[in-house]
Symmetry: C2
Subunit: 355 residues, 2 copies
């Protein structure tokens, strides 16, 4: 295993220490339990937005903490859900009395630990809500997931929901906003190569010199198909068409109901993507993908969207939700409306997002 | 070879097309010859700043075009110097009459082609100056270089010189500023892995499972030493100490003298890095390095600088001057003064730099 690390067990803490040292004007790092939080939290009158997942997907989420985005991010060990005490202690530190919105990617471990954290927070008198992100159209049920996995839309949700919180949305409004983003967003990814987690020291999965994994998960979970290597244009077309033609995924997701003081099943009617819709097109690298390759994909994606009558009004291209040094990409399309555009454009200042 | 590309010969043009499609509010792309330029160029009353190098180092330089940074970037084929017609046509399009500063990384092909472009531009009545960046302390004379190679300092120079141009520095002042940045900056890099250029299709060099190349060039040029794999802290210490203890590299670099209307050899007296100096610390990934690893390096670098009495007052951490999907990192230290801090902090809006 070749990595710029010291001991595998120190990777998360040492990288957090570096992040904290690099951005002392934006964030602070708490250890044991580990979380990154805004230097100016708690912010009076503002709902706190918290997310987190296993490490190894950077800049998601630790690079998303700061003005106009997250109040706190809770990084687990590499590819391992954060523990409830991380989410609980982060909430206690950053909430201002207006409540906390937890944005949770749909992996069983994450969902379970967030629910435990929420119950603990509620018992301490903190108002909480949760929204699950499950935007990956590749497969239903996966290695670590019941239902669909949460992937690229979570990056966009962190930006837009964070802007909503900054714009004084209350907790209910923010939960509604986040739920809309999840329903409006669809993603799919593919891998050219595997990656190596520091703890395992060997590749997560085997893949041949002329193979790609189509519909990969961000922890190397199997996708839809193992295929022969294809051109960038063919891969882009397959990903884009899979996303654009996906519709009718009505599902039930668990949310905490503040009024009833209990968990409820929320029935969600899927959004469609149609000719004439305005979209944000997000081409994401899996970590080890050179930027020019992502732009080759974006070029083809723009052409496909144009042909399908989808108008790209905003975009994001880069390595944002990664799987360590994995090579490959994912595409996320988010249907936009005036509210989402306004919040996407709102200024942001975090380690990895600044405009 | 596994890459998100179509035909190897189309990589540069297709990635430029994607870049242009993604940032239509900031840049335009010219083809045959290839260059990227500011959408609002030429800008009246402002010196134009142009750079460029082989492709494969993105976001350098095509991601650096826009307000407060470059007026144009000229990307050659992958790891191949741009041709004189690229630099000439870019200058003709973006210059406003106040002159053009070419920032050139010290590789023999780049230097030769920039000199030819400058002579052609002069013959067309355009005022031009050039400053060579040769900040890599690893080796003197290399596979493609006489003297030292130009690496990480070029990223910082593009930002700071671009801000100077925006602040109405004239051509002489900008050349002086760029020369100062080159003298104040020192870099060194290392690789864990090689990379594969699309045209070659196989790794640039062989490196064993337990080996690193210490002092690597950004085109895979041999470094100082082939060493056994070491910890991130050991690697950081070796890079940082090599940089900090480097001094006394007085050299002669060629510049165009506008008054004499000829090439002159400028004798440069090296700057030292001393206890108490203020610095910008830049930890750069070679392309395929996960962000957490770069922060592990930054954490150790900050500790070393602190011990040596060097005060880090600004920093940059990320994959900025890359070698495709190579894994590894480089460190650049730039001695700062009030002028450099002010220009570094000045607002910037390019595909890859926004603040």
């Amino acid at each position: 295993m070749k990595k710029l690390i010291n001991k595998p067990e120190d990777v998360v803490k040492e990288s957090l220490a570096g992040l904290g040292a690099a951005y002392p004007d934006l964030i602070k790092v708490n250890y044991d339990p580990n979380f990154v939080y805004r230097i100016d939290a708690p912010i009076k009158g503002k709902v706190a937005v918290i997310s987190g997942s296993g490490s190894g997907h950077e800049p998601l989420y630790t690079g998303c903490v700061g003005y106009g985005m997250l109040d706190a991010a809770c990084p687990g060990e590499v590819f391992t859900a954060p523990t409830p005490d991380q989410m609980l202690e982060a909430a206690k530190l950053v909430h201002s009395g207006e409540g906390v919105l937890y944005m949770v990617n749909n992996y069983s471990g994450d969902v379970m630990n967030y629910e435990m954290a929420m119950e603990l927070a509620i018992s301490e008198g903190i108002r909480v809500r949760n929204i699950i992100i499950d935007d990956d159209v590749a497969v239903k049920d996966s290695l670590y997931t019941q239902g669909r996995r949460g992937v690229g839309t979570s990056v966009l949700a962190a930006k837009i929901v964070g802007a909503g919180a900054e714009a004084q949305y209350n907790l209910t409004q923010l939960a509604d906003l986040c739920r809309k983003i999840n329903l409006n967003g669809r993603s799919m990814g593919m891998a050219l190569t595997s990656c190596i987690t520091p703890a395992k020291g060997t590749t997560l999965f085997d893949i041949g010199e002329n193979e790609i994994e189509f519909g990969i998960g961000i922890h190397g979970e199997p996708g839809r198909q193992r295929l022969e290597l294809k051109s960038a244009d063919e891969i882009t077309e397959m990903l884009a068409v899979s996303i654009i033609e996906d519709y009718g995924y009505n599902r039930v997701l668990r949310e905490w109901d503040e009024g009833k003081n209990e968990w409820i099943d929320v029935e969600l009617t899927d959004t469609s993507l149609e000719n004439g819709d305005h979209i944000l097109a997000f081409v994401n690298g899996m970590g080890g993908t050179p930027l020019p390759e992502l732009f080759i994909v974006y070029r083809k994606l723009a052409e496909i969207c144009d042909k399908k009558g989808l108008k790209i009004i905003r975009n994001l291209v880069g390595n944002y939700i990664t799987s360590l040094e994995m090579q490959g990409c994912s595409i996320t399309l988010l249907k936009m409306d005036d509210e989402l555009v306004k919040l996407w454009d709102a200024s942001v200042k975090t380690p990895s997002f600044r405009w």
